[in-house]
């Protein structure tokens, strides 16, 4: 059974339908990506799953449970974490305080300390900068912190919104390494990307979104091989 299942999700912002009925599934332990151009509805999808936006119709199931009307707090508590677009770390809090905010809903103090060490082992750079204000970190480090903060909620699935946005190509490589590391620890990742090439190489399964609909889906390799995808997203021109 899939960990996360979305069925016929419709979301409208004041009469304009951002999502026109999309359905997809995310399997346990897999990296699943949604790719698509600006305004395709990728971010809206994530925001709806995490309860920040209420859908007009459609259902969201997590471990078979209907979580559509749960509200953000409960959704975070059940194990869905979000790494928001643009990283959005708390700039005037230290790295350590940022991580503790991630554990805000948790009460298991000792395990929290273990998890902080776990995050520090995963990203030694953060440990070095533990007392630095998050706003003074570099873009890549902030992304690490945003991921670390999400891990602190003890999620089963991490949803990442455009983690490569605004980062240098070398740093983007690091980010995708982070995603692979997460997968190797058994984490499920739902990834949204405009960088279709990198995302398709990293993912196990991919969905292509266009103006509020899912138009294609398949494994990373399948989509990379597809001509339509190559033309639309990977910049290959058809010269024949």
């Amino acid at each position: 059974m899939s960990l996360l299942k979305v069925t016929d999700l419709v979301v409208s912002y004041g009469g304009i339908e951002a999502l026109k009925g999309i359905s997809f599934e995310v399997d346990q332990g897999k990296i699943v990506t949604l790719i698509g151009a600006n305004g395709a509805g990728k971010s809206t999808t994530l925001r709806t799953i995490s309860g920040l936006v209420a859908p007009k119709s459609g259902r969201i199931y997590y471990e078979g449970r209907d979580i559509t009307d749960f509200g953000t707090q409960k959704i975070v508590a059940t194990g869905i974490a979000m790494v928001p677009e643009g990283r959005r770390v708390f700039a005037n809090l230290t790295v350590l305080e940022n991580l503790r905010i991630g554990a805000y809903l948790r009460t298991d103090k000792e395990v929290i300390e273990e998890d902080i060490n776990y995050v520090y082992n995963l990203f030694p750079r953060l440990k070095e900068r533990s007392w630095q204000l998050a706003g003074t970190l570099s873009g890549g480090e902030q992304q690490m912190l945003a991921v670390g903060r999400a891990i602190m909620t003890r999620p089963k699935i991490i949803m990442m919104d455009e983690p490569s946005l605004g980062l240098a190509p070398l740093v983007v490589k690091d980010i995708f390494k982070i995603i692979q590391t997460l997968k190797s620890t058994g984490m499920t990742v739902l990834l949204i990307e405009q960088n279709a090439n990198a995302a398709l190489h990293a993912c196990d399964y991919a969905y292509v979104m266009e103006t509020g609909r899912i138009t294609m889906s398949g494994t990373g390799e399948e989509l990379l091989a597809s001509e339509a995808i190559q033309e639309a997203y990977l910049g290959k021109t058809n010269k024949d």
């Binding site: 953000t72 975070v76 928001p84 959005r88 700039a91 805000y104 809903l105 007392w131 204000l133």
Partner: protein, 369 residues
């Protein structure tokens, strides 16, 4: 979380604070009680508490509220209404047949009631108002403060609030002095007690700010969306911060009543809120130490050090030009402009006293948003 931080600055800070309290106590026993110093210290303590409570909202939670004077008014009135001795009520409430409240409660209970009443008003006001953001929230809270002021002056509520007449006769700071049988003061406590009340309240606020709850408030200030995505309930936290801030503003109002010895609704104007806002800005938005420090500085300047500007001054036979009633405020405004120009983030920025004493924090600047 503090394992890595050196404990030394913290200990030095505690010693400094203890030294200040001892100095206040000694000064009070030795200096004449009419000295201007004590007026400044008493009013400074009151303003320090209210400024810190405002900083909790504006500096730490990022809620720009201008309702402070309104909540102080509620606190001051509740304190007055419940502590005026029954024997004096006929004289105080002379137009309202002695009023309808015919009992008193102990002073500490009255102060807590003041806070609770202010917090209750904040809860009611917060329901609609906290949905607003930044400037709109400021305007709405300012409006509510004005409405509260009008309601408390309304004659229909006269039996309770004494209408637009003043409340007086309730215990004030001077009643804390210990006297012998002949009414001679043996131990002066009229400055130390307000210091202790304000100190305890500010300590509670500091503990709150440093708790995980305070961290959540700072997270909301930095980024509401990310805070919500971390599972922090925005509405709940904002409401609670608003109520707690108002609670302490209410207690501060009760202290102001004690300081002034009388209470009248018409003195709790928006100008009072601006004064407190000024103190918070000058001290540093997000610094408790800054708010406390600038409260005393502000009160000392406005009540004491600049007073000479309002009177004719003669140097030999030469009369210094420009000095006349009101000139003090001109100089005061210029000083404030200079502070704002050269200390953009206030005197303390967002640093606290222990930070100044440790080297690590000296390097820690506030990040640019």
């Amino acid at each position: 979380m503090n394992q890595k931080k050196s404990k030394v600055p913290m200990i030095v800070t505690l010693f400094l604070i203890a030294a200040i309290y001892i100095a206040v106590f000694i000064a009070e026993q030795t200096l004449p009680s009419t000295s201007m110093l004590f007026t400044v210290l008493k009013k400074g303590a009151v303003y320090a508490l209210v400024a810190v409570s405002m900083n909790l909202l504006n500096g730490f939670t990022g809620i720009f509220s201008l309702g402070q004077a309104g909540f102080m008014l509620v606190g001051a009135y509740v304190y007055g209404i419940f502590t005026i001795p029954v024997a004096q009520r006929a004289a105080v409430y002379q137009y309202f047949d002695g009023g309808i409240v015919q009992f008193t409660v102990p002073l500490v209970v009255a102060m807590i009631l003041s806070g609770l009443a202010a917090a209750f008003f904040a809860f009611l006001i917060g329901l609609p108002v906290l949905r607003l953001k930044s400037d709109y929230l400021a305007i709405a809270t300012l409006g509510f403060a004005e409405i509260i002021r009008a309601i408390f002056q309304w004659n229909g509520l006269g039996p309770v609030t004494n209408g637009s007449n003043m409340l007086r006769g309730f215990p004030n700071f001077n009643d804390f002095n210990i006297t012998d049988g002949n009414g001679n003061v043996t131990v002066y406590l009229s400055t130390l007690i307000p210091f202790i009340i304000a100190g305890v309240c500010i300590l509670l606020i500091v503990l709150l700010i440093n708790s995980s709850y305070g961290r959540a408030l700072k997270a909301i200030r930095d980024d509401e969306v990310a805070a919500e995505a971390m599972g922090i309930n925005l509405a709940h936290h904002k409401r609670l911060a608003f109520c707690i801030s108002s609670f302490f503003a209410g207690v501060g109002g009760a202290m102001l009543a004690m300081y002034q010895t009388t209470v009248q609704a018409k003195s709790f104007t928006s100008a009072m809120t601006y004064e407190i806002l000024l103190i918070v800005v000058i001290g540093g938005i997000g610094s408790v130490t800054g708010s406390v420090f600038s409260s005393f500085l502000f009160v000392a300047c406005s009540e004491w050090w600049l007073r000479f500007l309002d009177e004719k001054q003669l140097i030999g036979d030469f009369e210094v030009p420009l000095l006349r009633t009101g000139f003090r405020m001109v100089v005061f405004s210029v000083i404030i402009m200079i502070v704002v120009l050269f200390f953009r983030r206030g005197i303390m920025g967002d640093k606290e006293l222990p930070d100044l004493l440790s080297r690590r924090a000296a390097k820690k600047g506030r990040a640019v948003k």
